[in-house]
């Protein structure tokens, strides 16, 4: 209960942050050339000044900037993100349609990066300065430097074009009529390459942090105690070191949530996945600023929620956190 209270307090502290983001986005929107009415009029193929003025009044665009800002915030509180002229529906509907694919991609990439990064980090730390460590650390450096979109393209060339093992893109086979478990397998096959592509840079970061944190914990007194009481090395690593070394990894999930969302823009574009990231890209190309700002808002919310969950997980892993305050 105490943990929840702590996490909730942190959540409340992010409200001012959210307000700053919204005010900033609103200002950016003011700076952008053209407004909603310009877009509408352009779509109608022009209109006379009287009608344009009438439209501005209708959308509240003739009010003072501060009143408009208040108006904008009030609409966001009711989750009214405006109307997308390109898609012809409310922005919320467009975003909700695209959200599942992105969440699925993020969760699978995060799990893969976390698990593989942890395993590689542990191996590297146990064989520190021997060849497995050198190999893994070098791989980590190379993964860190690899542009994800390029890795994705090369993955398509090798696994989809040459070997023909995996589909080159898309979320599922269109018109296949798969249902139930077949459909799940089909989607999973489509997500293999995007998951690895998105996870690559995070895998590199996780393995580096895991290695450093393992090495740090291995020098602590309680590890010596555990060894002294006769525990096998395997038991020491698994029961004592691993659990403590995982804490910085969990923190990192919260810190990297935003980066991962940003990375999904590129990955979803490479693999033609119908997700939030590709929607962001499309709305830039089509100058659909309403949708773009809506996505930024939803992403910020998502980052805040993920950090809230990380706070709770963190307190569960480390009992000291909940009891200290």
């Amino acid at each position: 209960m105490r943990i929840l209270g702590l996490a909730l307090r942190r959540l409340a502290a992010s409200v001012p942050t959210l307000l700053i983001i919204l005010a900033g986005l609103f200002l950016l929107l003011q700076l952008a050339p053209g407004d909603t009415v310009d877009a509408l009029v352009a779509q109608m193929g022009g209109g006379d000044p009287a009608m344009i003025g009438e439209l501005r009044r209708f959308y509240g665009l003739d009010a003072p900037v501060l009143a408009q800002l208040m108006n904008y915030l009030w609409r966001l509180v009711r989750l009214d993100l405006g109307y997308s002229a390109i898609y012809g529906k409310p922005v919320v509907a467009v975003i909700l349609e695209r959200l599942p694919a992105t969440l699925l991609l993020m969760v699978s990439a995060l799990s893969f990066a976390f698990a593989a990064g942890m395993a590689l980090g542990v191996v590297a730390a146990r064989r520190v300065n021997q060849w497995p460590d050198t190999l893994i650390s070098t791989l980590g450096l190379i993964f860190y430097a690899t542009p994800s979109f390029w890795f994705g393209l090369m993955g398509i060339v090798v696994f989809a074009v040459w070997l023909g093992w995996l589909p080159p893109g898309g979320f599922e086979t269109i018109g296949s009529g798969y249902t139930g478990i077949d459909r799940a397998i089909d989607i999973a096959l489509h997500l293999v390459l995007p998951t690895v592509t998105l996870a690559l840079i995070f895998l590199a970061i996780y393995l580096r942090i895991m290695r450093a944190s393992m090495l740090e914990v291995l020098t602590l007194d309680f590890v010596r105690t555990a060894r002294a009481k006769g525990l096998a090395e395997h038991g020491v690593v698994r029961r004592h070191v691993l659990r403590n070394a995982l804490l910085p990894m969990v923190t990192l999930i919260g810190l990297q949530a935003g980066t991962m969302l940003g990375g999904s823009v590129v990955v979803e574009s490479v693999f033609a996945l119908p997700g939030l990231g590709r929607l962001a890209y499309e709305s830039v190309v089509q100058r659909d600023l309403n949708t773009l700002l809506g996505i930024v808002f939803v992403s910020a919310l998502l980052v805040i929620v993920i950090n809230f969950l990380v706070d709770i997980a963190y307190a569960r892993l480390d009992p000291r956190i909940g009891s200290q305050t």
Binding site: S14, P16, T17, L18, I20, I21, G24, L25, L28, L29, L31, A32, V128, L141, I142, Y144, A145, T146, P147, S148, F149, W150, F151, L153, M154, I156, V157, V161, A212, L215, G258, T259, M260, L261, G262, G263, V265, V266, S269, A280, Y281, S283, V284, V285, R287, L289, L292, L293, I295, V296, S299, A300, V303, I304
Partner: protein, 276 residues
Amino acid sequence: MGFLRRYLRNPGAAIGLVLLLLVLAMAGSADLLYPRDPLALAGRPLQWPFQNARFLLGTDASGRDIAAQIFHGARISLLIGFVATIVAIALGIIVGAVAGYYGGLIDDLLMRVTEAFQTVPSFLLLLVLVAVFGSSIVTVTLAIGIVSWPAPARLARAEFLTLRNREFVQACRTLGLRDSAIIFREILPNAMPPLIVYASVVMALAILLESALAFLNLSDPNVASWGNLIGHGRGVLRTQWYVSAIPGVAILLTVLAVSLVGQGLNDALNPRLKPR
């Protein structure tokens, strides 16, 4: 001299330095080796590498020389990466220094803004900035700098927090030095080493951000950028995969070089750290 020797003792750092010098040499010699516009039609399109002595790395789908684009692209990547890093570090130092030195309300306020920037996914913010301000090379560079400043700001703030109550700072205060002089002339030089090391991380990320933006066709289309070339090669990926593969290797090696140099600097600047 001792510094250089300490730096070169680390094989990774030495490799990084060699790679970086190589990329710098490519950028420097681009105009000499390939004086023509790298984006101009040069020959028959889609020639494979090493087939034609005139085009060592082949030509892309529009018949442009890939080698020329790689050489000129080195210039763009380094330029954008470097300038964006300067912008990000400078912004970060100003925000972090003011927040860390004065503390209190102004610190709270500035940290809230920093948090806001860190909550919005930086690539999405970059997309918004490009959508609003256009995608010329200047705006793209500035935008990358603007999305990259929060981390350096936090680092600078932490340094200033630990340094602001040291004796030498108190001595400066008793001498009646202006705050700006204390911040920039007295504390900043002491806070610089970790920031310089972190600059390499910012630069590596800036190069990756620019290439991703260019790949999506949202960067300046009028300059030879590696990301542009990869995006361009996407159309012929199934058969002429080399068009996309070659610039990707260039990006990878450049980012690798920058990170290795940064790591080497870190180890050389902090000789007391245990080698791990």
